[in-house]
């Protein structure tokens, strides 16, 4: 046993090194930068240590607070819908029917497309003049065409919809894996007892699926919190800041305005919120589920 453990350490080491290099180091660097005021365009101000000033500014920054609201709305709506749609897809894919392999592959296509590419596609679809969206809704009557990405609420709905379209299949994969761990004997026993399809779903499938559903929700929530590319391509934060999610706001602060310290403080804020969410979910699911072999 001891020897196997030692060997295991060596196997884990390379990935530990990568995690340290690509996650832990950048996080520490951002935390450090967040305590300084560094403005690229004004090099003569130097790199001044300001303690928690950036965070104090952040707490009173109306744009940041509004941006937090937009982000939470995006996360809540997209993660919930993705898990619901994903669960529906998983239930369908778990049935055996002709051409199931083909459907399973097809469902994964949106997820396999890089987000930047699919965002570009949605931007075209929602275009006022030549987008498919208007044609489907209003047909050839071009005088009634609307510009979804110019209306604050429609633009929000559009990025949520694009995210649901793209990542529901990811949730479906997790739920499908959960479904396949449910032993067939349970259903057979239920049938013997005279249970119908609805009862089987409610009494067997859903309770046993709870860990997988929560896991899908966890992954989707944390991932949705980091939304950036959709907004970057489709709306650039507009109209009227309606889609200005936190990650995009931080990006603009650092890369466009050169406010390195303040932008880093925003990034750290996003990190802390994701961390808190992750811890909350892990408690909710129970650490047991995340251990190997605990899925049943």
């Amino acid at each position: 046993m001891k020897r196997a453990d030692r060997a295991a350490v060596w196997f884990v080491l390379p990935s530990l090194f990568l995690v340290a290099l690509f996650s832990i180091y950048p996080i520490c660097a951002s935390v450090r930068l967040g305590f300084y005021r560094t403005i690229l365009m004004l090099p003569w101000l130097g790199e001044k240590f300001v303690g928690l000033e950036n965070y104090a500014d952040l707490a009173t920054d109306a744009v940041a607070l509004q941006s937090l609201g937009v982000t939470l709305l995006f996360v809540g709506a997209s993660a919930t819908m993705e898990v619901l749609v994903g669960a529906g897809m998983a239930l369908l894919l778990n049935e055996s029917f002709r051409g199931r392999g083909l459907v399973r592959a097809a469902v994964l296509v949106p997820w396999a497309i890089p987000t930047v590419v699919s965002s570009q596609m949605w931007r075209y679809i929602f275009n006022y003049r030549y987008g498919l969206f208007n044609f489907l809704v209003f047909g050839r009557d071009t005088s009634r065409y609307i510009a979804p990405l110019a209306e604050p609420w429609l633009a929000r709905a559009a990025i949520i919809f694009a995210d649901v379209w793209k990542t529901s299949s990811f949730a479906a994969l997790i739920v499908l894996a959960g479904l396949q761990t449910i032993p067939d004997e349970l259903y057979e026993a239920a049938e013997v007892d005279g249970a119908g399809a609805w009862q089987k779903l409610r009494r067997i499938t859903l309770p046993l699926l709870k860990p997988a559903l929560l896991l899908a929700l966890l992954f989707r929530t944390i991932d949705a919190f980091k939304v950036f590319d959709l907004v970057f391509v489709m709306t650039q934060g507009g109209p009227a800041d309606a889609t200005n999610v936190l990650q995009f706001y931080g990006y603009k602060k650092i890369f466009a305005e050169g406010m390195i310290g303040y932008g880093s403080a925003i990034a750290v804020g996003v990190f802390l919120i994701s961390l808190a969410l992750a811890l909350l979910y892990i408690r909710l699911i129970g650490a047991r589920v995340l251990e190997p072999g605990a899925a049943r």
Partner: protein
């Protein structure tokens, strides 16, 4: 010996003998002038190769791309296009190379004065002007004639004319006005033309303070919200940059259109436009009691501080901005050029008679705030303008005061240390 073979050898003598790539960050060339120019340059300099790096159309996104390259001290960028609002920032950050040794005062005098001022920061020059832009009003000559109207001198007049024509035409899909009202840099240009033509301003340069809360500026914003967006433009313009808004006009679906000089040739190109020959162009309207104001735009070529071969890069910049090149681009595209001589060139004037008027507008065009912190200021203004005009019931007074406070905070960074 005939003279021309010797001439072919000339570039070999004046330039170093090793072959080199010059990396040029540019935008997609929709007008087709760049490719032949670069081919020409390469033909004259067989040891140099121009490698194009194509950035996004939106000035804001293009800026962010450049800033990212500078931040990474990217040595793979030598020459780049620079919007008229960036030299102060790029100079202050130490990103753009001062070009005084290549581009002395004497040479600068051949360019429109406003473009040289825009490229000068703390006494040094950081870019060579190529294109100069100024906001102009385009209109449908045929429609105005049909309703016996002359081009509007005031903004309220423009709204009334647009309403008359749209009501009279009964052509589904015809709107009164198209401009650039998306949340991006172009929005600042459009809005400043309303504000300045109402005797307002974006900022108070001497006091280093925002000026959006003052009545003249607020009134202009309210006018755009209630009358331009509210009455004569399709709400789609809230998502439009230049290409989309011009397309609407070229399809014959807008009576009036605000754009830069390049739109003239595009709207009159029968291959791209349904209204070729029906296009009129004039100075932008003003509010009663104000005078027409055009935002100064334009593009310069700069050289990166991190370039490995600034001399060779200059060789290319000089070629791209010399008189013959600017004349050639003007003839091909009809775009406003930075060299004054182009506006006196008989061939150019024959092909583009509007250049006479364009020169007058360009000479009077107003630059946006020249300061190293322009980008944060612009983001605040973009946010304010977009919020103010997108919602029909926006609280403009509150939003404007808030925007001014935010601008003041950024501008405070520029105050001398003792005062802070």
């Amino acid at each position: 010996m005939k003279p021309w073979p010797a001439l072919l050898l000339l570039p070999l003598l004046v330039s170093p003998l090793h072959a080199a790539d010059i990396r040029f960050v540019t935008w997609r060339d929709t007008q087709g002038y760049l490719e032949p120019l670069i081919a020409d340059f390469e033909a004259h300099n067989p040891d140099l190769k121009i490698v194009r790096d194509v950035g996004p159309h939106s000035s804001t996104e293009f800026h962010d791309l450049l800033a990212q390259k500078f931040r990474n001290r990217d040595r793979e960028m030598d020459v780049f296009f620079m919007d008229v609002i960036w030299p102060a920032e790029f100079a202050s950050a130490g990103w753009a190379l001062p070009l005084d040794r290549f581009f002395p005062r004497e040479a600068q005098k051949k360019f429109l004065p406003a473009t040289i001022r825009a490229n000068t920061y703390a006494g040094a020059i950081y870019g060579v002007p190529l294109f100069v832009d100024a906001g102009l009003l385009y209109y449908r000559k045929d429609l105005l004639q049909k309703y016996k109207l002359s081009p509007p001198r005031t903004w309220p007049e423009l709204v009334e004319q647009a309403k008359t024509i749209v009501a009279g035409e009964k052509h589904a899909g015809l709107t009164g006005f198209s401009g650039q009202f998306k949340q991006y840099e172009g929005l600042v240009c459009n809005m400043m033309e309303y504000i300045l033509s109402n005797n307002g301003d974006l900022w108070d340069e001497t006091r280093l303070s925002g000026a959006l809360r003052f009545p003249a500026a607020q009134e202009a914003a309210r006018f755009v919200r209630d009358r331009i967006i509210g009455e004569i433009a399709h709400r789609g313009v809230l998502a439009y940059q230049e290409p989309e808004s011009l397309a609407l006009f070229s399809e014959g679906r807008a009576v009036f259109h605000r754009n830069w000089p390049y739109a003239w040739a595009e709207a009159n190109d029968a291959h791209k436009s349904k209204i070729a020959g029906q296009v009129g162009m004039t100075t932008l309207p003003a509010f009663p009691g104000g005078s027409s104001a055009a935002a100064l735009g334009g593009w310069q070529l700069g050289i990166s501080r991190y370039s490995r071969r600034p001399e060779l890069a200059w060789h290319f910049v000089e070629f791209m901005t010399r008189a013959e090149t600017q004349r050639r681009i003007a003839l091909q595209t009809g775009r406003g050029m930075a060299r004054e001589a182009v506006y006196r060139d008989p061939e150019v004037l024959e092909k583009y008679p509007q250049f006479r008027m364009q020169l007058a507008v360009s000479m009077r065009a107003v630059p946006r705030p020249t300061t190293p912190v322009y980008v944060p200021l612009s983001n605040i203004m973009q946010r304010y303008f977009s919020t103010a005009i997108s919602a029909r019931d926006s609280d403009i007074d509150r939003l404007a005061r808030h925007a001014d406070r935010e601008m003041d905070r950024v501008l405070d960074l520029l105050r001398p240390r003792a005062a802070r």
